[in-house]
């Protein structure tokens, strides 16, 4: 019996086979098969084929590889990794279904490498193996690049800059931690302000950049909205959730995170109001929802950690669904900008309703999966009696419903119009089925999961690390949230004219960085290059002069002497023979280098001896 098979490694290596499969049908079947192989391995793990998984926080340790003085652990299997891996693979299967229509096979390769490396990071048992994260920072770059637009090119570079920066921070933190403790175990780390915690602060910084926590959230909305329609869906799921996973492992209960998360949950919504691009709006909702998870990690009680995990997992599912809905419109209508859309309902009703399932889920409607996870985090905030955190998180629920449940569907599919604008209408068939069927199937599975988990939360709760004694459907909670939503709708209806899309771009917290970068490039291109050009010219002049003199030093000195004399004469303006002098000088310059003076053997030897003498003098006196 094999000790264990790493699903991440299987998918990671399997990804490289995709481009070699010649027949398209077989290739696509293989693409669907990859996550299924992963799921099969997970089922074997759950059934105890590779050994019984102990109760939390115990873990199975597999694939331990000696490396230098340390032992790397590629497979740490406990309840938390299992539940993350399950959702990753189920979501990836639906995403692959959605992406079947993609012509570029390298996009599939990039996506599967991304999935494989995410699983690698999830199963990592030590801080070195965790650097699967680094693969996760470049694999999605291709998903952005394959969009092929100029904006996408820039966005991908910004993506990789952010993530390599965060990777460098984490690495620095790991090295400092290793230096002080000698341990590379991926476990709960101490945290505090001050110099002795520098390493941990660096690691925390790295993780909160990866998880798009305010004020480092801007890379997410900037890049996800520029990726290919199906590529962006993979991106919504893995990077930020893996970062949340790392935060749960390393920094649970850090109060700073609680505040950052709660502020982020609301702050992103303000920016979402101004957003005109459907996918950017969804991106701000990812940021806002991550706020719940980060706040949950920060609260750090058992219920909050359970809430953060379950919310991360539910979020993967409903957010992929939301992005798929917006992606459908992008694929079918060619744009996801609100001011160019509206009235699409008649032509793509199924994707509208599937999107709405995601919209209800993210808002936290009872019987949808957002509700069962979100209320857990909110309840955890209530139980620690922290009113500001509670109000921020509850307020974010209002804003989420406002945007994803109302603003986005209203602006994309409805806007009170029966027909879309003529240029969009020209791209649509006359049927109600404009969206490719494989996309709808992918969305349907996710929509089913949203409702299934919402109706039967036990399926998720039983797999969470800490035991759950939490009943989401109480009269209080269902009633309060429904009343809140009814009145949110009323507020939206009053102000619906204000939330229509305008073709604008909303500045975000990356403005100082991008402006500083721009100024740096300007400084390099203008003053610095100007200085370099001047320096270059001057140095070349000197070099040319030396070359010129060395051709015939005797004649050259003669010419230079005459030039100086001429200059002196001109200044004194005594004689009328200047013209004569100038003419003879011109003549000499033209003839230059002329005939070289021949040296006799004796003169040569004297010169050589003289240079030796100089060298001797140098050796004796100049070098101490």
């Amino acid at each position: 019996m094999t000790e264990w098979i790493h699903p991440g490694v299987v998918i990671f290596l399997g990804a490289f086979l995709i481009p070699w499969i010649k027949w398209r049908t077989v290739r696509l079947a293989y693409l669907l098969l990859l996550p299924l192989i992963g799921l099969t391995l997970l089922l074997l793990m759950s059934s105890g084929y590779f050994g019984q998984i102990p109760a939390w926080p115990g873990a199975l340790h597999k694939w331990q590889i000696p490396f230098l003085d340390y032992s790397l652990e590629l497979g740490r299997i406990d309840k938390m990794t299992m539940v993350f891996a399950y959702i990753y693979l189920i979501a990836a299967f639906c995403m692959n279904l959605y992406a079947l229509g993609v012509k570029n096979k390298w996009e599939h390769v990039a996506a599967m490498i991304y999935l494989g490396s995410s699983l690698g990071a999830i199963f990592a048992g030590d801080l070195f193996t965790l650097f699967w994260l680094e693969i996760m920072s470049w694999a999605p770059v291709f998903l952005i690049w394959f969009r092929g637009t100029r904006k996408a090119m820039g966005a991908a570079i910004r993506y990789v800059l952010w993530h390599h920066f965060s990777g460098a921070c984490i690495l620095a933190g790991v090295v400092i931690h290793l230096y002080h403790t000698g341990s590379i175990e991926l476990t709960r780390l101490p945290w505090g302000w001050g110099g002795e915690h520098l390493g941990y602060n660096l690691m925390l910084l790295g993780f909160i950049i990866n998880s798009a926590t305010t004020p480092f959230h801007s890379w997410l909305s900037d890049t996800y909205s520029e990726a290919t329609p199906s590529g962006s869906i993979y991106m919504t799921a893995f990077t930020t959730k893996t970062a949340i996973y790392c935060l749960i492992r390393t920094f649970p209960g850090v109060e700073l995170l609680m505040w950052l998360g709660a502020i982020q949950a609301v702050f992103a919504l303000f920016l979402a109001v101004l957003e005109n691009d459907g996918r950017r709006l969804c991106s701000y909702h990812i940021i806002s929802q991550i706020g719940y998870m980060v706040a949950g990690v920060g609260i750090g009680t058992e219920m909050a950690i359970n809430g953060a995990i379950s919310h991360a997992l539910c979020h993967i599912i409903y957010n992929a669904l939301l992005y798929m809905g917006a992606g459908c419109v992008l694929v079918v209508a060619g744009t996801a900008k609100f001011h160019e859309l509206g009235g699409l309902y008649k032509y793509m009703p199924i994707s509208f309703w599937l999107y709405m399932v995601g919209g209800f889920s993210i808002s936290g409607f009872p019987l949808f999966n957002g509700f069962i996870s979100k209320v857990m985090t909110i309840e955890a905030a209530e139980l620690i009696h922290n009113a500001p955190i509670y109000l921020l998180l509850e307020g974010a629920t209002v804003g989420t419903f406002l945007h994803t449940g109302l603003k986005l569907p209203w602006n994309m599919w409805l806007q009170g119009k029966d027909e879309p604008p003529p240029n969009i209408r020209a791209k649509l068939k006359d049927s109600a089925l404009n969206t490719p069927v494989h996309m709808l199937i992918g969305m349907s599975i996710l929509a089913f999961l949203c409702i299934f988990m919402g109706v039967y939360p036990k399926i998720l709760y039983d797999r969470l690390p800490y035991p759950v004694e939490f009943i989401p459907f109480t009269t209080t909670r269902v009633f309060s949230i429904m009343q809140m939503f009814i009145f949110t709708f009323l507020g939206f209806w009053f102000l619906r004219k204000l939330v229509t899309g305008y073709p604008t771009y909303t500045l975000d917290t990356d403005w100082p960085f991008r402006m500083a970068g721009r100024k740096l490039i300007w400084f390099c291109e203008e003053p610095l290059m100007g200085f370099a050009r001047v320096m270059d010219r001057k140095v070349m002049e000197v070099v040319n002069l030396i070359v010129w003199i060395s051709k015939n030093p005797a004649a050259a000195f003669e010419i230079k002497k005459k030039e100086m004399l001429l200059a002196g004469q001109r200044r004194l303006a005594k004689s009328g023979s200047i013209d004569l002098c100038r003419q003879s000088l011109e003549e000499e310059k033209r003839k230059y280098p002329g005939e070289l003076p021949g040296l006799t053997l004796g003169a040569s030897i004297i010169l050589i001896l003289f240079s030796f003498l100089l060298y001797l003098a140098l050796y004796l006196f100049a070098i101490p």
Partner: protein, 87 residues
Amino acid sequence: MMSFLRQYPKRFFWVSFFIGLVVSLILDVLWLRSDILHYHFPFQYVPQFFAIFGLLGCMLLILIAKGMGYFISKDEDYYEKDSRRQV
């Protein structure tokens, strides 16, 4: 009812919406007097707290964001224009 829904989907929506609205207001009054609702903070027991919170929260969110937009909403090609590299 199904035929009504099919014939007048908008009217059906609005009728059910306002029924829901009124019912929620009444239930809040009734249930707050009884012992059905269990909240954690005293301010949640304010009558119609969640109605006010939803309505005001939503409207404030939109209005404040629109005010912010005065400063941070720029042209779509804000980062592209006057950059020679276009990246």
